[in-house]
């Protein structure tokens, strides 16, 4: 039986003012090594100024089988969008 080194998801903030964005994964035994590996692998070309790592096993994802019940009911709620409301042009941009 081969021991497996845990997988981590890596998130990088390209610069202040932006959110951390998922960029890929790495393997590491613990969070300190994971942060170093993320730095060495994913920031070699000035890609960011802050790193998050999260153990892949700690991510809870929505069930793709529930995608329809999760995400389709919003489709007909068009009154949530500004274009649903008609405002005369002379009122100006709103």
């Amino acid at each position: 039986m081969v021991q497996t080194t845990p997988l981590w998801e890596v998130f990088i903030r390209p610069r202040n003012g932006l959110s951390h964005k998922h960029v890929g994964s790495i393997h590491a035994a613990d969070e300190v090594l994971a942060l170093q590996a993320a730095r060495d692998v994913y920031t070699r070309r000035g890609e960011g100024n802050s790193i998050w790592v999260v153990r892949s096993a700690d991510i809870h994802a929505s069930d793709p089988d529930q995608a329809a019940e999760n995400f389709e009911p919003t489709a007909d709620k068009i009154y949530r969008h500004p274009t649903f409301y008609e405002i005369p042009e002379e009122v100006g941009h709103m």
């Binding site: 081969v2 080194t5 997988l7 890929g24 790495i26 035994a29 692998v41 994802a61 793709p64």
Partner: protein, 327 residues
Amino acid sequence: MYSQGLIGADGRTTESEEFLARFQARIDAEEKIEPTDAMPEGYRRTLVRQIGQHAHSEIVGMLPEGNWITRAPSLRRKAALLAKVQDEGGHGLYLYCAAETLGVSREEMTEELLSGKAKYSSIFNYPTLSWADIGIIGWLVDGAAIMNQIPLCRCSFGPYARAMIRVCKEESFHQRQGYELCMSLAFGTPEQKAMVQDALNRWWWPSIMMFGPHDADSQHSDQSMAWKIKRFSNDELRQKFIDATVPQAEYLGLTLPDPDLKWNEEKGGYDHGPIDWSEFWRVVKGQGPMARDRIKARKKAWDDGAWVREAALAHAEKRRARKMAAE
């Protein structure tokens, strides 16, 4: 670098026709498939195999170029080569991670590589015999790989496509550094020029074999095309590569080692001489000149590193235990 026409994909699948049609409709609509989506078993298997082969190629590909890191003839070249070989390792890493989203671990894929079960690009089973090989590999092998890889950025499987976007971005310097290196030799001393011509002679045919067998002989290619795992045929890509490369060789004043290579006005591309497919299959099947050495080197790195990986895991366990005790 270095994806190769997929060797031996098996796209057979047993799902209902209705399921397959629904899946195909998503693909046809250019929807990306994500790891948790329902997908035909054949699609999953083909991807695991292709991404795995691609990742292995990157990792094994570190060895022939790594062979010259310690002998690079200037400090500038040494830094560039080291950064390039490092990139190849990074590409292998991104690709292993993309394959892992399909439920296969890096350790499993590594074992398959080391046991000889998994294939990798045939090109790395040739030796790098002179410094000029480093230039030629960058120019031709990375050039061929870019042709292959740019379409993969639009592959239907999301994680693979995303990994390839990152790979292609990083790779853009590889071919340029290779060509620039070839320029330094082609326009250098007579010895340097002879060195780069010799390297070109040795790498030309293996490079154009990298695109894989002719379309007519390429099993399973149609299914991969339909699923948009592959977006151009082997021959289309090979033609594109040759057409781009011939004028580049002319600029260097080098001769491509194919007497039958000539412009075909009618098709608007170059015709080339017959490819020795027996050599190709021999090398793919593990009888390349460096095949044993490559796997042996990877196996040594993996085996010698086992105690380090074990120590890191053991230490992580201790840290966890200490943290829990403190809470």
